[in-house]
């Protein structure tokens, strides 16, 4: 019987472009993660804070920005919950809520009774400054007759706090669910040989895996934040050029999402690649957050703000770099242009923000280096 040597025959049909090959890994990863009911429930829960902050936008647009409206006081109390201290500066003195007054006298020399206390966090002080400088009433700032600067600040604070508080916690939980098995399982089952015996590069593999996390993180951060922005636009007075005042916020939302997603996914996947046992990767992920947060909290509590010397204040500021959560928050503040509105804003703290950004970049680069090295390890002799 003759044996026909057919040789290798290449596929004649249409191939997916090289740039799109990572998509197969991403869609598979998303589909596998989606099978978890637990994750779906967390996704659902993750939108609950969106409703809360949507109410904040509503409260500001419908009541707080028009101080003669009924329900203003209640609206501002609610707004103060989301952006603490804001009502102290939007309300006339007789309507200010008592709970947001500091119970201790302002120790600063020359501090006036009833003046906004910078020890009260934070966003309200900036809003107040925007409001007080050369104006006679709310929304009537010099060169800001329709309250544009005030609106931009309040919206920025709302969005920044949205990223910083509820969504940061949900993000940590969600990444803790999805990320550990993403690479660890491939390490355990030695799947790299299967992956890289296909025309797939390491970069495509890594991007594919990262995109799984990006997809889910976008669902809980970027999309809700954009939704809040659009809601704010729809709820704003029709005669005010809101989009003109706040056109940059969607871009800042995307930037803040990138700041949140890139270092966290790189770190999470690097931890996942270091072990074949998922529980170690999960533990390492939560331990990094917990240890960092506790470190900063302890140092901060050990040196109370009111009794701090300048040297100690610098030390405490530097300790934010030990906490992944606080470093991320710092950079996000900067993305939303809120850095200068912090009560202790100074050249030193602005430098610290730059350091925080460098730290984030360094974490990203080191994590990617570890990830690439681990992914290549089965192929090294």
């Amino acid at each position: 019987m003759p044996i026909y040597d057919l040789g290798y025959r290449g596929w004649q049909g249409r191939l997916v472009p090289e740039a799109g090959r990572f998509w197969a890994i991403t869609t598979t990863g998303i589909r596998l993660a989606w099978q978890s009911k637990f994750l779906r429930r967390i996704l659902l829960l993750a939108w609950a804070p969106t409703a809360l902050f949507a109410a904040g936008f509503f409260a500001y647009e419908q009541f707080a920005s028009r101080l003669d409206n009924q329900g203003t006081r209640q609206a501002l109390e609610f707004l103060s919950f989301l952006v603490p201290g804001v009502d102290d500066h939007l309300l006339p003195p007789e309507l200010r809520t008592r709970q947001f007054r500091s119970s201790r006298p302002d120790p600063r020399p020359g501090a006036q009774a009833g003046a906004p206390d910078p020890r009260i966090p934070r966003g309200g002080a900036a809003v107040g400054r925007a409001w007080r400088d050369g104006r006679s009433g709310p929304g009537e700032e010099a060169g800001d007759s329709d309250g544009g600067r005030q609106r931009h600040l309040v919206w920025s604070w709302l969005l920044s706090n949205f990223f910083r508080y509820p969504q940061a916690v949900v993000m940590a939980l969600m990444v803790g669910i999805i990320a550990p098995p993403l690479v660890a399982q491939d390490v355990r089952t030695r799947a790299f040989m299967l992956y890289f015996s296909r025309p797939l590069t390491r970069i495509e593999y890594v991007v594919g895996k990262m995109a799984v996390l990006w997809g889910y993180l976008a669902l809980i951060t970027t999309l809700p934040a954009l939704f809040l922005y659009v809601l704010g636009v729809f709820l704003s007075p029709p005669d005010v050029p809101v989009v003109w005042h706040t056109w940059d916020l969607p871009l800042r939302i995307l930037a803040a999402s990138a700041v949140l997603m890139i270092p966290t996914t790189a770190l999470a996947l690097a931890l996942s690649s270091l072990t074949s046992e998922i529980r170690y990767a999960t533990f390492a992920w939560f331990a990094i957050w917990a240890v960092g947060w506790v470190t900063y909290a302890i140092v901060n509590a050990s040196m109370p703000p009111g009794a701090r010397t300048p040297g100690q204040a610098v030390f405490v500021d530097r300790m934010t770099l030990a906490s992944f959560y606080h470093t991320l928050g710092r950079v996000q503040h900067w993305v939303f242009g809120l850095e200068t509105s912090l009560p202790d804003a100074s050249a030193a703290s602005i430098n610290m923000t730059a350091t925080a950004a460098i730290e984030m970049a360094a974490i990203t680069l080191v994590s990617l280096a570890v990830l690439f090295r681990r992914v290549s390890s089965p192929m090294r002799i």
Binding site: S36, I278, R279, A290, V291, V294, T295, I298, T309, F315
Partner: protein, 285 residues
Amino acid sequence: MNALRAIWLFLRLRTRHLFRVLLNAVRTIPAVLGFECRRVSALPRLIITVGLVIFPGVLAALVHYCGAHVRDPEPLRQPERWTFMMFVLVPEVVCLLGLLLWATPVIQTEVEGKTWPYLAVRPCGKVPILLGKYLTAVVWTVLAAWLALVLSLIVVIPSGKAHSGVLVLGALVVLSALTYGALYVLIGVLFLRRSMIVAVAYTFVFEFLVSWIPAMVKQFTVQYHLRNLAAIWLPSDYVSGFFLASAGTAPWWQHVLILLGMTAVFLTAAALVLRRRQLITAPEV
């Protein structure tokens, strides 16, 4: 009469059976403890243990030396501050992280490693294994926490009755490890695949937030009882506002009994659930 005799025979049989079960458990648990302790001395676990041990000392050094200034040259010599810091770091952070790693996945590791079928078909199988692994987690955590405490004393010894403060914290470490270990083991048995996530979420939401709510619900948290014990046992100059904020009027033995009771309840629940569960070694998803 016959019915009484039947009941008596039944009780005798059950008691004998129970006695035999307990005897086997008593003999087996040390075997599990020894085996697991040898296994946990693998390199990754040792590295994590070392990290947990040195963390409080490093942080104490940072605060004590870098946070010092002319008006306050030795910040951590103040007993209040030292106690607050050590309480947060040792019976809480170190214990919780250690137990998260060792107690939460007690059964998950066996199921995913496909070793569970070999263990479950032994006469002294499921429950002694669960208890043995629980004890291993507690022993390692307590040792790591005590070492961390000793190491932090090398950095700074607070003024006043330092030995009392250390002894109290040492005792709180034991109670914290016992109770949280049992809780995490129960979570690990109930939520095989997501045990660590559930444990983290539970600890964050229930233990750290709910324990500060001024309502009856806080008494169901371990944190509340630990803080109260600290407030009662520590010398007065070691007690800060942190401990007094949620202090109640119950005596110390009540808090200890509640913690031990919670431990017993969690472990019993975990054992009962484990006996009922059907654990097949399906691949993880």
